[in-house]
Amino acid sequence: MTRMSFVEAGHTALAEEMRRDPAVWVLGEDVAHGGLYGQYKGLAKEFGTQRLISTPISEATIMGAGLGAALVGTRPVIEMRMTDFALCAIDELVNQIAKVRYMFGGQARASLVVRMPHGMVRNSAAQHSQCLEAWFAHVPGLVVVAPGTPADAAGLLKAAIRSDDPVVFLEPKALWQQEGEVPEDTEPIPFGTARIAREGGETTLVTWSTALGPALQAAEEAAAEGMAVEVLDLRSIWPWDVEAVVESVRRTRRLLVVHEAVTTGGFGAEVLATVAERLAGESALRLRRLGAPRVPVPFSPRLEDAIRVDAPDVLDALRTLCAD
């Protein structure tokens, strides 16, 4: 185990994959200069600017060229800088990358990773703060991954790079500097396996990515109030670990899903709906979501605080759920 930050975990995993497989390369703005967050620092030196290509500001073509390069057998890592900028490349992601294999009857594989740092950080306002995992989960053909710890970032990035399916890899901008223990020679982590982030038998809390921190903090405070909360970190949004969640809620009869994204149409809705369907007709369930209100992300710290899901919000929601 080594203690490293989110940035370092991703960096290490990527470098190891690039050493392992010469077909792996990176394209995106500023990546040869180390990337916006330092997540590619020094890699151009080791692998050359043929494998770390600082591109023009041409998101549609960054995404589309990544696909073209995958179609001829390379394995691109497409750096989007932020989810928000990927909105300039949605045709390429949704109409092309996600569909080529199917449309072409299995001939094509879009084996690539699209890295999209997401979420609020440093008061970046409405166009630099979005979380859109629910969108990508709705698109057939895409794998959607959202690690919440450095170790998961490393293991899931390896799995993403080795995946023959295209993977949308959502990295929590706010946690770039957060540190955690990461195993040496990290193994790829299989998609669709939730991690029990905290044991607890009375209430199920499902979360991922940036919401993991507030969720764990609230669960700890809840414990002090006598509520035993089991925290499941989904880690991957598609596929997601339906069985682990259903199994837990079957025991607890109580579920809270917490995420940073807007609640309306967020992936929490899918989790609740699936649980409600799977446990339909059994005794009454208590299911709740906690996410952002349906407002764009504001700039002012005071306003950001007003819409951010934080530990006290989670604790409140747990109290309500347990009091029901």
Binding site: A23, W25, L27, Q50, R51, I53, T55, P56, S58, A60, T61, M63, G64, A65, G66, L67, G68, A69, A70, L71, V72, G73, T74, P76, D91, E92, N95, Q96, V100, R101, Y102, M103, F104, G105, G106, Q107, A108, P140, G141, L142, V143, S163, D164, D165, P166, F191, G192, W238, P239
Partner: protein, 347 residues
Amino acid sequence: MPIDPSSDTPTGPAADSAAERRAAEPVDVKRALGMYRVMCRIRAFEEHALELLKAGELPGVIHPSIGQEAVPAAVCASLEPGDYVTSTHRGHGHALAKGADPAAMMGELFGRASGACKGKGGSMHIADFSIGMLGANGIVAAGIPIAVGAAQGIKLKGEAAIVACFFGDGAVNRGPFLEGLNWAAVYRLPVLFVCEDNGFAAFTRGAATTAGYGAAARAESIGLRAESVDGNDVLELDATVREFAAEVRGGEGPRFIHAKTYRVTGHTSLDKADYRSVAEVALALARDPLKRLARELGEQGVEAEIFETIEAKERDAIQQAVEAARAAPWPEPESAFEDVQDQGAPR
């Protein structure tokens, strides 16, 4: 007065050099007949498909390229088997010219299991990766970034192949046109861009929505050597394509061909195209690329019979493709759930 279909897009100064290049060399009859064969194949394929649609035998619609066959025929005459093409919604010609099997293509149009894409793609998504045909595309201009990426992949792998990227005159007003050309030029990628200017973007004339000096001038401003050619003259096309493709293959970076032709049918098999005069279409028909080549080779002494034989053979082959497709089984319903992704069950 009908609009002259070949002149409503402004022409750069380069237009003459293509004609000169063509005039500078004797006609290679064998090569020319090869291109004639390809044109006949495309024509026969689409005429059959249109009849089948009218008869209600095919689902969906198609975008016919009748009248435009010279462009794919000439471009693919300079491609090697290991080269790649990207295509458009109007892509039958590109696939056939690159060497796709007409039976597999017809099977796809019928929606059968024998189709090139097992019935999942249809006319607008025909692909054949075994011959480097990276797929037709239902989104205007979307093939451009894919083509430049394929070229970048090729370069990264140290391979020698080139990519021919087809798109229409309507595509020159979409963002990926600029992005893709700039990208190819920045990284000196082996891409031959081919703008098939058939005069129309759906029901609106391309020229009505395209400002400035046309596709080739745009490409030149981005640093690509570019030329406008008569897209109904397969020999003129061939002369320019050969030169440009050789440059691309030689590592000199991307090249751009603006081929001016005409869409003699409607936009789709449903479109009556009543937004233009009969006279205008007649003018274009008089420039039919197949007849034109036959006439010219005839003048050089090639016997009429040869053309008839080629044409008949291609028609027969397509007729057989139709019969094979008709006889082919439907895909199993369960196959709708395959080829989506390995991870995550579709239901």
